[in-house]
């Protein structure tokens, strides 16, 4: 089925892209390379510049500076319709006055293809997204998931060198999202598509992407595989935006070659692995909730604290606890749910975490108790970033 496509995705390079809107900088000196057949996601909160970047690649926004290369050729001065880029829009943007067949045939008609070839290609594209028999329906007669597939078929039917997607799964319900994630991934691999996707949804980014560029304030905070970003976030922003983190401000008390001892603003001492950043001694810490464990009597870890459970949220496969430790900090702990129930609200418990569970960042954590902006909640940040 997929073999019907002879072309594979092209490599893409963004070189020093910048966009000013009046006096504000939406995208600031953005450079990155996307390999042929790679799925790269621009992940960030709204206002981070990710959507502006997408619009610059598509040709709808002219960059103030910088260049976009596809297959090594600059396309920055080409009009959108000359760029040969397929786009799946957030709300699909299917043409309501055209049937599914004509929606998918649209790019081929614009390219003056003969009718027989159009029929053949549309059939191929609709089969690809498993909608072969719905060509004569109008978009409003389709479910959200089917509309999404039509949008995908329409963006793929002319075998673009690059596929752009704007929050591709944002408008779907949870179950459908999971199905579509699988489908998208399957298609992308089978057709060897180069995909640049924009989203504020970390789950979407983690499950779909080969690499993720986390964006904030118009810049790339970190670029890496989902695993790298999650396990070794290089900035507190990334640690907080991708997954959940306990963020703490602290001061370095002493250090040696491989470890350091830090004291949080509230007075909790802990051992951290690796050489803590040098400098004034002010650092910011991030600990993943799932790296903190409840300890049995006699068990030990690098760091141990007594705590009281303030809040319990049952998530199904996991339980999220809010703990208060005597020094005054609150810690979020995530543990697998166990039959019969774990600790309950109000229980006194002992928790521990290893030195290498603590991520340490340079910089004064002058900040609120958490030291970091709150992560976006689901449903927020739907606007263009």
């Amino acid at each position: 089925m997929a073999a019907a496509s002879g072309r594979r995705g092209a490599p893409v390079r963004l070189d020093g892209l910048r966009k000013d809107f009046g006096s504000s900088v939406a995208v600031d000196n953005l450079s990155l390379e996307v390999g042929a057949g790679e799925f790269l996601t621009l992940l960030g909160p709204s206002g981070s510049g990710k959507s502006t970047t997408l619009l610059m690649i598509a040709g709808f926004v002219a960059p103030t500076r910088g260049e976009v290369f596809v297959s090594g050729k600059p396309i920055t001065r080409k009009a959108p319709h000359e760029r040969d880029i397929g786009i799946v829009f957030q709300h699909y943007a299917l043409f309501p006055h055209l049937k599914v067949f004509d929606n998918v045939a649209f790019p081929l008609k614009m390219r003056q293809q003969p009718a027989a070839r159009i029929a053949e290609r549309v059939a191929w594209a609709l089969d690809l997204v498993r909608l072969g028999d719905l060509g004569s329906r109008y978009p409003h007669q389709l479910s959200g998931g089917q509309q999404q597939r039509v949008a995908l078929a329409r963006a793929l039917v002319f075998e673009p060198s690059l596929l752009l997607m704007d929050e591709p799964l944002g408008a779907l319900d949870r179950r459908l999202r999971e199905t579509m994630q699988g489908e998208l991934k399957r298609l992308q691999r089978a057709l060897d598509l180069t995909v640049i996707c924009v989203t504020h949804d970390q789950e979407e980014a983690l499950t779909l992407s080969d690499r993720i560029a986390v964006m904030n304030h118009g810049r790339v905070e970190q670029l890496g595989t989902p695993e790298e970003l999650y396990e070794r976030p290089q900035t507190p922003f990334v640690a907080e935006f991708l997954g959940e983190s306990n963020a703490l401000a602290a001061r370095v008390l002493r250090r040696d070659e491989s470890r350091a001892v830090v004291r949080t603003t509230q007075g909790l001492d802990m051992v951290v692995a690796g050489a803590a950043p040098a400098g004034e001694g002010e650092v910011r810490l991030a600990i993943r909730p799932e790296r903190i464990e409840f300890l049995q009597e006699g068990e030990a870890r690098d760091n141990v604290a007594d705590a009281k459970i303030d809040e319990v949220v049952y998530l199904g496969d996991a339980v999220r606890y809010l703990l208060r430790i005597p020094s005054g900090e609150t810690l979020i702990v995530k543990a697998r749910s166990v039959a019969g129930g774990g600790p309950r609200m109000g229980d006194a418990v002992r928790v521990g975490w290893s030195a290498d569970a603590v991520l340490v960042y340079a910089g004064a954590g002058a900040a609120s108790a958490n030291g970091l902006p709150p992560p976006p909640k689901a449903g927020e940040g739907r606007g263009r970033g």
Binding site: A58, A79, H81, A93, P107
Partner: protein
């Protein structure tokens, strides 16, 4: 809109029935001020001065009345087409403009709209008069030596009516255009359509319901126009509403005037029904949902 209306259930839940009482004042007013007089006119058209369909036979057989009827529809049609041609670009500019430009354009559309129809008609009399601005300019430029006869011509009627009716086309069209998702045109562009083709293949078809709504409004209003053709038009440009007025005020022929009024009403409704059927208004609205 039409589609929504069709989907509405016809039965009303008992707990909502009492709310229908709220409709009573409006319905009562309409019944007294509109339905009743209309019924009286219809009755008068077949009873005054004697019972029978004599008036309708006259309208249907005497050439001059058919000609006036045809001229009225012709005028309304020309005016409607002209407002579409002139109004579409204005609505488009309005939909695309931002900030000061938008404010300016809206003011340019709405200020005349809020000005009395009579005032605007008189303004055109001043502009098009024998020594009006147009003639003075033409003479100053040496294009003509004698002032041209512009006022009391068919041209003046058209110009005046087009000017007065333009906002009725622009405003509904503008509303449809601003509601259109900009991603649709962007999608067309990304799929390989040049700006012109994206406009023709996507933007225009999807704003057609707005054109239809506006054109219908203009057409219906133009059919019943009285003041403007009466003041700006010449003796040859007789419209049905002028004929009715003439019959009543000069000849006191109430029965015949009533028959003419009923004819205009029925013909208007017939045109609307035909347009609704052949232009597929309902389908277009559904597509927009």
């Amino acid at each position: 809109m039409l589609a929504t209306a069709r989907r509405m259930p016809l039965t009303i839940a008992p707990e909502h029935r009492r709310r229908l009482l709220l409709l009573l004042p409006a319905v009562g007013f309409l019944a007294l001020a509109f339905a009743l007089p209309l019924a009286l006119i219809a009755i008068r058209s077949v009873t005054d001065p004697e019972p029978g369909l004599g008036h309708y036979v006259t309208i249907g057989t005497v050439n001059v009345y058919l000609r006036v009827l045809a001229a009225t529809f012709g005028l309304a049609l020309t005016v409607t087409l002209a407002t579409v041609v002139l109004g579409y670009p204005v609505a488009y500019a309005l939909a695309r403009s931002r900030g000061t430009w938008r404010f300016l354009l809206v003011a340019l559309v709405l200020l005349p709209f809020w000005t009395s129809l009579l005032v605007r008609t008189y303004a055109w009399m001043v502009i098009l008069g024998r020594y009006g601005i147009v003639n003075q300019v033409l003479m100053a430029l040496g294009i003509t030596e004698e002032p041209l006869k512009l006022l009391h011509t068919s041209l003046a009627t058209h110009v005046g009516m087009i000017h007065i009716l333009l906002p009725f086309l622009i405003l509904p069209l503008w509303s449809v255009m601003t509601r259109l998702d900009p991603a649709l045109t962007m999608a067309a562009r990304s799929l390989g359509a040049s700006p012109l083709r994206a406009f023709l293949r996507v933007f225009v078809p999807l704003t057609l319901p707005g054109v239809m709504a506006g054109a219908m409004l203009v057409f219906i209003l133009a059919l019943g126009f009285y003041v403007t053709p009466a003041l700006l038009g010449g003796p040859a440009d007789l419209t049905l509403s002028m004929l009715i007025s003439q019959q009543v005020s000069e000849l006191l022929a109430w029965g015949f005037a009533s028959a003419l009024a009923v004819t205009l009403l029925v013909a208007t409704l017939a045109v609307l029904a035909l347009a609704g059927r052949f232009l597929g208004l309902g389908r277009i609205w559904e597509g927009l949902d």
